[in-house]
Structures are given as structure tokens and as C-alpha cells.
């Protein structure tokens, strides 16, 4: 990992140096040399950016989506959603309805979708 950072830093430094050289050559009036150095410089920066973005993506931690249990009253339709607890399963009787005191049932267990930034 450290080696990759060192290589990236080296490439960035070299690319910056070439762009500086390109600016120098342009001010001297040597457009061909300036173009040559600019191409090398910008290519180097592009490759470094790509390398860094690949590295960042690999280091990004996978988010485990939370699992939710939906409890429903089959009489009045009252629903309650809470986090999954070990022991939950679909069609397990779970507590009484707050509205009509009838036993509620777990009708769905699912993982919530993690919204991508």
C-alpha cells in the first residue's frame, strides 16, 4: 500500500515538473516542446488520479444494510417496523396490537436498501 502511495507521489511530482517545463518552453516560444511536455505531464496526472481512485474504491468499507421486521395486526391492519432481533421469523406471533389487543404477526423481514451517495 505504501509503495503505491510512493509511486503515485513520484508520478505526480514528475508530471508537475513536466507541466512546469511545458510552461517554460511555451514562454520561450518552443510550442512543439511545450506540447510534448504538456502531454506527458497531463497523462501522468491522469494515470495517478485513476490509480488513486481505484485504491480509494478498494479501501472503501462495505456497508451492511440493517434488517427490519414488520409486525402487522391482521384484524385492523396496524403495522409496526423495527430492527430484526434474533429469533424473529415470518409468521411468528409477536406481541399484541396497540389498537385492538389482538396478537400481531411478523409478516415481513427484509434488508433495507443502502442509498448510494
Amino acid at each position: 500500500m505504501i509503495i503505491l502511495y510512493v509511486i503515485a507521489f513520484g508520478m505526480l511530482s514528475l508530471s508537475t515538473y513536466y507541466i512546469y517545463q511545458a510552461l517554460g518552453a511555451y514562454t520561450e516560444g518552443s510550442v512543439d516542446r511545450a506540447l510534448f511536455f504538456a502531454i506527458i505531464g497531463f497523462t501522468g496526472i491522469g494515470v495517478t488520479m485513476y490509480m488513486m481512485s481505484t485504491l480509494m474504491r478498494r479501501l472503501a468499507k462495505r456497508v451492511t444494510p440493517p434488517v427490519m421486521s414488520t409486525t402487522e395486526c391482521l384484524k385492523c391492519g396496524f403495522k409496526s417496523i423495527r430492527r430484526f432481533a434474533v429469533g424473529d421469523y415470518v409468521f411468528k406471533a409477536e406481541g399484541d396490537c396497540q389498537k385492538c389487543n389482538v396478537p400481531m404477526l411478523i409478516t415481513a423481514i427484509y434488508a433495507e436498501e443502502v442509498k448510494k451517495k
Binding site: V67, V86, V90, F91, I109, E112
Partner: protein, 366 residues
């Protein structure tokens, strides 16, 4: 002075550029091989981490219900290298009962081991531990296979040997991550995407008495618009797929073939770009696995000329082994509506219809 210095640096850099060009020309393939090996090494590290985490989950789960003074790790390590040898296909006639016998041997051995490791666990919990160990075995096998190709490639430094595994790395990682997610789901008893079929059957049979018709498989008879529905699913909420093939065969033979149609509901792999949870319909036995269950269903259906319809819920490979998503959970309602439509349109009153919910029933009761 500075201009001379700048020219010197430029000359040096141009020489470096020229030399690197020559090096890549003669050693380019070796460099490419080295890059691929580095990529495989990175994946191997991730696979090893996943495998070790899965092993830890397995050991922790077993310790919950086993002897606290005994370390189950050595026994679990042996189980993680358990293998099956498929029957020879030199004489393919009669191979299905041989494969069935092999699978039963494998299942029994695993169940006996789990009973020894976790004697205090209930039936559902033992099934869950069985599932955790099976998928940890899968992860371990994946790691060992990739490691084998990596070391072989490193030994021979052959680009073509290494390329074979490097090209498949994204698919391998997809499967490994799916296994990893399923181990967490099995350990906690959460429904997975593969349970879509079982969930549809559970929604049909809830509230009606059920009984065991085959190993880890239950059946319930429910009236529906004048038809007699026989609903089959694996016995939940433990981790099992049951024996739906054996169950359907038994039920059709018991009815002496007087079954109008068989409707099977299962999860199906979706194409890239398709939405998870969408349903589709087709003809044939919608069931996965090695093929034994499918063979049994097709044999009995063909014998009595019973149409077999399949209703599937689309999902990706990763979703099928991960905790069930809301899209798939909602999709089972649409699948249920499609099943009812097939029955209403394809049968008449007093007909017998078999509805089989196929899939792993972890976290799904009945």
C-alpha cells in the same frame, strides 16, 4: 546554468523513457504476469479474511450450544474440507438415485456432526448451524481453489495459467461476498433472497394445519375458489430446502395422478439491468440444485401428463444468498397473485392443484 541543468534533467528523463520502452518491449509479458499475480494476491487476502471471519462466526455459533470447555475449532476445520465424489457417469442410466443416495449420505453426516458439536441446539438452530458450516465450507473451497491457481501461476510464471483465474476474479468475489452475507443471515436466522418461493407458499398456507410429507418438508391443504390446493414448502424457520421433489412425487402418487396442474415458485437469476423482485412465468419444474428433485418432479408429471408451471421472482446471485431485500419481499406478493391467476385460469372447481414453494426457508415459518 539553470537552463543547462534543465537540459541535463530532460536528457536523463528521456533516456529513462527510452529504456523503459525497451524493457516493456522485451519483458512486457512478465510485467503483465506480475501485475495479474498482484491482483490475484489482493483477492486472496480478501478471500482469506472472509473465510476466517466465517470460521469465527461458525465457532461462536457452535460454542453457544456446545460444551463451553471444549474448543470445536479442530472439528470444524475438518468439516470445512469435507468433499463429495460424484458417481461415475460412464453408465448414466440410473445415476439419479446414486446422486440422491450420495446427497443423503452427505446430509446425514453433516447433521450428525452438528448434533455432536451443538447438542443443546433446537431443531431450527441445528439447521441454521448446518447452513453456516456448509457455506463456510463453500468459502473455504473458493479460497483454496484461487490459492491453488495463484501458486501454480507463480510456480510456472505462465501468463495463460494466471489469466484463467484473473478473468474470473469479479465473479469469484461476487460469489464469495454472497456466501459471506448468507453466513451472517443463517447465523441470525434471517430470511434470504432464495426463500422467495418458500415465502409465497407460507403466505398461502398460513393459518391452516400442516403435516410433514417428506424430510423437512410440510404440506397443507387449503380451499381456494372451489379448488383443493395442496401447498408444499420446506419446514421453517430453520435453514433447509427440504425435499420438494420427493413430496410432490408422493402427493401425486397418493392422488393416483388426479392432479390438474403443479405450480412451482422459486427465485431466478436476473439479467443485468433487470429489476429485482419482478416476476416471470414459464413451463417446467422451477427448482435448482443438482437435478435430483427436478428429475423426480418431471418423471411423475410426465407419467401422469400433469402440466408443470413455474413462477419465478428475479434476483441477482448476491441477493439470493443475502438477507431478503424489500423489493424481493414485495415481489412475493406479485408472485402470489400470479399463482392465483394461473390456478383460476387453468383449472376448474373441484380440481386438485399442487403449489410448491421452492427455496431455503430460513427465517420463514408457516
Amino acid at each position: 546554468m539553470s537552463q543547462t541543468g534543465g537540459d541535463t534533467i530532460n536528457t536523463v528523463l528521456q533516456m529513462v523513457y527510452l529504456f523503459s520502452f525497451l524493457i516493456f518491449m522485451f519483458y512486457g509479458q512478465k510485467f503483465q504476469t506480475w501485475m495479474m499475480l498482484r491482483e490475484i494476491e489482493g483477492v486472496l487476502v480478501r478471500l482469506r479474511t472472509m473465510r476466517d471471519e466465517a470460521k469465527k462466526t461458525t465457532v461462536d455459533k457452535v460454542k453457544e450450544f456446545g460444551d463451553k470447555n471444549v474448543d470445536p475449532t479442530p472439528r470444524i476445520d475438518h468439516l470445512l474440507e469435507y468433499f463429495t465424489i460424484m458417481p461415475t457417469s460412464l453408465d448414466p442410466a440410473g445415476i439419479v438415485p446414486k446422486i440422491n443416495h450420495l446427497i443423503e449420505t452427505y446430509d446425514k453426516r453433516f447433521k450428525d456432526e452438528v448434533k455432536l458439536l451443538a447438542p443443546a441446539a433446537g431443531e431450527s438452530q441445528q439447521m441454521n448451524i448446518d447452513g453456516v458450516i456448509s457455506h463456510t465450507l463453500g468459502l473455504n473451497t473458493l479460497y483454496r481453489s484461487v490459492n491453488h491457481f495463484y501458486l501454480m501461476g507463480k510456480k510456472f510464471m505462465s501468463l495463460y495459467v494466471i489469466m484463467q483465474i484473473q478473468m474470473q476474479l469479479p465473479l469469484i468475489m461476487q460469489i464469495a461476498e454472497a456466501f459471506s452475507a448468507s453466513i451472517r443471515a443463517f447465523a441470525e436466522g434471517q430470511p434470504i433472497g432464495d426463500g422467495a418461493g418458500a415465502l409465497v407458499a407460507a403466505k398461502l398456507m398460513y393459518g391452516y394445519p400442516n403435516k410433514e410429507v417428506a424430510k423437512e418438508t410440510v404440506v397443507a391443504r387449503i380451499p381456494f375458489e372451489g379448488r383443493d390446493l395442496i401447498v408444499v414448502k420446506a419446514t421453517g424457520p430453520g435453514t433447509t430446502v427440504g425435499k420438494p421433489g420427493e413430496a410432490i412425487q408422493k402427493l401425486i402418487e397418493q392422488a393416483e395422478g388426479r392432479v390438474s396442474i403443479v405450480v412451482m415458485i422459486d427465485a431466478m437469476g436476473k439479467f443485468e439491468g433487470e429489476k429485482s423482485g419482478e416476476t416471470s412465468e414459464g413451463a417446467g419444474a422451477a427448482i435448482g440444485g443438482v437435478g435430483v428433485e427436478q428429475f423426480e418432479i418431471e418423471s411423475v408429471a410426465t407419467k401422469y401428463k400433469i402440466p408443470v408451471h413455474g413462477v419465478t421472482v428475479k434476483e441477482s446471485v448476491e441477493e439470493s444468498l443475502s438477507p431478503m431485500t424489500k423489493a424481493i419481499s414485495d415481489g412475493t406478493n406479485i408472485a402470489l397473485a400470479r399463482v392465483k391467476r394461473i390456478i383460476l385460469e387453468g383449472t376448474k372447481e373441484n380440481d386438485i392443484v399442487i403449489v410448491a414453494g421452492i427455496g431455503n426457508t430460513v427465517g420463514i415459518g408457516q
